[in-house]
């Protein structure tokens, strides 16, 4: 069975022509265009909730409270040196294999893994048999208790969804108040208007309420989410 070939160029032209007719666009086009392009180049500052303007300490507590309210664990550690032990202990506490899958992230690679010789690390994107994925967050958002992760060889996106357990390391310096600060940081890191393949916002383990309206965690993605919040700056 064959279908008719779709002429994308013609359809595009048709749709734009129709839109411009509907918008009754005429000579105003250039003025409109200047305004719209200016608004994209310099995005508006919409009002932000009061809850993102709190003290550093309050933001940290709010971040933690939201995540814990969504059944995630939050481990606070003093320095990068404490991260391997925190991860190993969390895995032991849940009777999980002492193996994590991680990408090429430099900050994660430089952690003193030798302090936890029993903890095995495998490199690369997720495999179906992996039990725990380990990622380094691009940012944390105190407004809703959310982690922002950027995909790439450093932190492959499949680590966030395929393994049953997900551990995310976040440096305290990367904890921000509102989403808008993440936009600013993304523009700084990747360039204005540029994005990695995915930016993933994660606010807890996977969940569903599709059966009888009752909340169940561990729908398709991770059943457990553990956030390791590191007070001192990481490399």
């Amino acid at each position: 069975m064959s279908t008719r070939d779709h002429d994308n160029k013609a359809a595009r032209a048709q749709m734009f022509a129709k839109l411009q007719r509907a918008l009754k666009d005429g000579p105003a086009q250039s003025a409109r265009r200047t305004h719209v392009e200016g608004r994209v180049a310099d995005p508006p500052n919409h009002p932000l909730p009061e809850r993102v303007r709190r003290s550093r300490n309050e933001l940290r507590m709010q971040f933690k409270a939201f995540l814990e309210g969504q059944s995630a664990s939050v481990l606070e550690v003093a320095g990068a040196g404490d991260v391997p032990a925190a991860i190993a202990n969390w895995l032991r506490g849940h009777n999980l294999p002492l193996t994590v899958r991680m990408g090429d992230d430099a900050a994660l690679a430089e952690l003193p893994w030798s302090r936890e010789p029993a903890l095995l690390r495998e490199n690369g994107p997720a495999k179906e048999s992996d039990t725990t994925g380990l990622s380094h967050a691009f940012a944390g958002i105190a407004e809703t208790g959310t982690l922002a992760l950027t995909s790439g060889p450093d932190n492959p996106v499949t680590l966030n969804f395929v393994p049953e357990n997900h551990v995310i390391v976040l440096a305290d310096a990367d904890l921000v108040g509102p989403y808008e600060e993440v936009w600013t940081r993304l523009r700084q890191r990747f360039g204005k208007g540029q994005m990695p393949r995915t930016v993933n916002f994660i606010s807890g383990p996977s969940r569903t309420a599709d059966i009888g309206g009752k909340l169940v965690t561990g729908a398709h993605g991770p059943r457990r989410l553990c956030v390791v919040l590191v007070s001192e700056p990481m490399t």
Binding site: M1, T3, H6, A11, M15, F16, K18, L19, Q20, A22, L23, H35, V36, R39, V40, P43, H46, P47, P49, E50, G103, G124, P125, A126, G145, S151, G152, P153, P156, V157, T158, P178, E180, W183, L186, G193, M195, P196, R197, T198, V199, N200, F201, S203, G204, P205, S206, R207, T208, A209, D210, I211, G212, G213, V216, G218, A219, H220, G221, P222
Partner: protein
């Protein structure tokens, strides 16, 4: 998707008598409605943000051609293939061709109401011989029953846990017969195991998009289960099917509207997963789909621009209007007969498939106004339904009794003195005949009294009360 909207009245009658449905709908108030109330109270800025969000979307629609152009340019620069589909048939053909080019045998799908609108699954299966698997749990439950979603964010809200168990036992016959399926978690686990294999073997993953962002050329999906992410990151090809009005200008506009979306929908502070996708796998990436297609559907939406129905294009598909609607709460979503149920469906369906087919829907409203009260985008839904009622009347093919009744009422309504006189005579007469203050049957009011008593008028007319009030008389 085929419509049964013209059968609304009989659909509704069947729904009212369906015990399982009535039991399932009972969860609505304690769940989604109560959660929204709590979430709204926890964000004092909620009301102010509604106004900002409304302005953002009005501005976007007023410049939709320009934002579409900017979006397209940025998406292409990031490696996306952008397709334009004027009609549902165009969108189906485009996606079928993408699947064929990918030699697809299995296609996984995240939740997408636009894909329901274009009848995508049936087309890929019939014309392409492709196995299409819905991966959102609610969508999966609906798919295995050969039904359609009855709610735009909770597609299986019409099903009870017992029905799900029965379906799983009927279909998942490779699993032990004596397995325990008492808890929702056990049912979720079973579905997880089955769908995992589909994620791992799918050739193409199809998702919708909650928004398209012009500034970055990104699409975004907002989910709780993580199925959309497995769908779009494990297959070699990711197809986004979405519609033209989903555009927002910048990331700042997006975050402002996102503050309203989850709170209005499920009453969450935010959904568990929000994923921005821009282009396909990058040169150094170890995973993610090498191919990324975006199909942008019009299907009659542009025709609404510049009409009294333009406001409906602000809709962000949160479902708050149906969660709070007394009519939806009584009959559920299937009775509406097409893709979009509830108040938003009563406005959108006549616009997309015609008032002749869907004219019943805007009549199925008490005009209580709750939908407009809770709509995060402040869409005046009852006003828009009223416009459709006028359009339906103007078509001239309403039943004669209906037209005569309306004409009779209009005759009096346009003659205030006569109306007043009729009310002054009629009201006391009605209150005289109403036994114990109510009627259990009344000529011309069978539609009401078949299901409940009609309260009898208790005293003076509205106009009398109004006149007294104006004159400063207190009782």
């Amino acid at each position: 998707m085929n419509s049964t909207a013209h059968n609304f009245k009989s659909n509704a009658r069947v729904a009212l008598g369906d015990q399982q449905l009535q039991s399932a709908l009972g969860n609505l108030k304690g769940g989604l409605v109560a959660n929204r109330t709590k979430a709204r109270a926890a964000l004092p800025e909620f009301e102010a943000l509604r106004d900002v969000a409304k302005d953002i979307k009005n501005h976007t629609i007023a410049n939709l051609d320009l934002y579409l152009e900017i979006y397209e340019q940025n998406a292409r620069a990031a490696g996306a293939v952008v397709h334009f589909a004027e009609t549902a048939a165009d969108a189906r053909d485009i996606i079928l061709k993408i699947c064929r080019d990918a030699n697809a045998k299995i296609v996984t799908k995240g939740k997408s109401m636009v894909s329901e609108e274009i009848g995508l699954n049936a087309h890929l299966e019939a014309a392409g011989g492709i196995e299409v698997v819905e991966t959102d749990l609610g969508e999966y439950l609906v798919q295995i029953r050969k039904e359609t979603p009855s709610h735009i964010i909770a597609p299986a809200i019409h099903l009870t846990q017992g029905q799900v168990e029965a379906d799983f036992r009927r279909l998942h016959t490779h699993l032990p017969k004596d397995r325990v399926l008492v808890e929702p978690a056990q049912l979720v686990n079973e579905a997880r195991g089955i769908l995992r294999q589909k994620f791992m073997t799918a050739d193409v993953g199809i998702t919708g998009a909650n928004f398209l962002i012009a500034e970055t050329g990104s699409s975004i999906i907002v989910t709780n289960e993580g199925n959309g992410d497995l769908t779009q990151s494990l297959a070699k090809t990711h197809v986004v099917i979405t519609s033209i009005e989903k555009l927002v200008p910048t990331l700042e506009d997006l975050s402002t509207i996102l503050r309203l979306l989850a709170r209005s929908a499920t009453g969450q502070e935010c959904s568990t997963y929000m994923t921005l996708s821009t282009g396909g796998r990058r040169v150094n990436d170890h995973d993610g789909p090498p191919n990324y297609h975006v199909v942008i559907l019009d299907n009659g939406r542009t025709d609404l621009i510049g009409t009294e129905f333009q406001d409906v294009l602000r809709c962000i598909r949160c479902g708050a209007c149906m969660n709070h609607c007394p009519v939806y709460g009584a009959i559920g979503g299937h009775a509406y007969g097409w893709v979009y149920p509830g108040p938003i469906g009563s406005v959108l369906t006549p616009a997309l498939i015609g008032v002749k087919e869907a004219g019943n829907l805007p009549n199925a409203s008490t005009f209580c106004g709750k939908c407009a009260d809770v709509c995060p985008m402040k869409i005046p839904l009852p006003d828009l339904m009223r416009h459709w009622r006028e359009a339906e009347f103007d078509l001239g093919d309403l039943p004669r009794g209906y037209r005569t009744g309306l004409a009779g009422w209009a005759f009096f309504a346009r003659r205030p003195r006569l109306y007043h006189l009729a009310a002054k005579v009629g009201i006391p007469l009605l209150s005289l005949f109403g036994r114990r203050g109510r009627f259990s049957s009344l000529p011309f009011a069978g539609g009401w009294t078949r299901y409940r008593d009609l309260p009898a008028p208790q005293g003076r007319t509205f106009q009398q009360l109004w006149a007294e009030r104006q004159a400063g008389v207190t009782r």
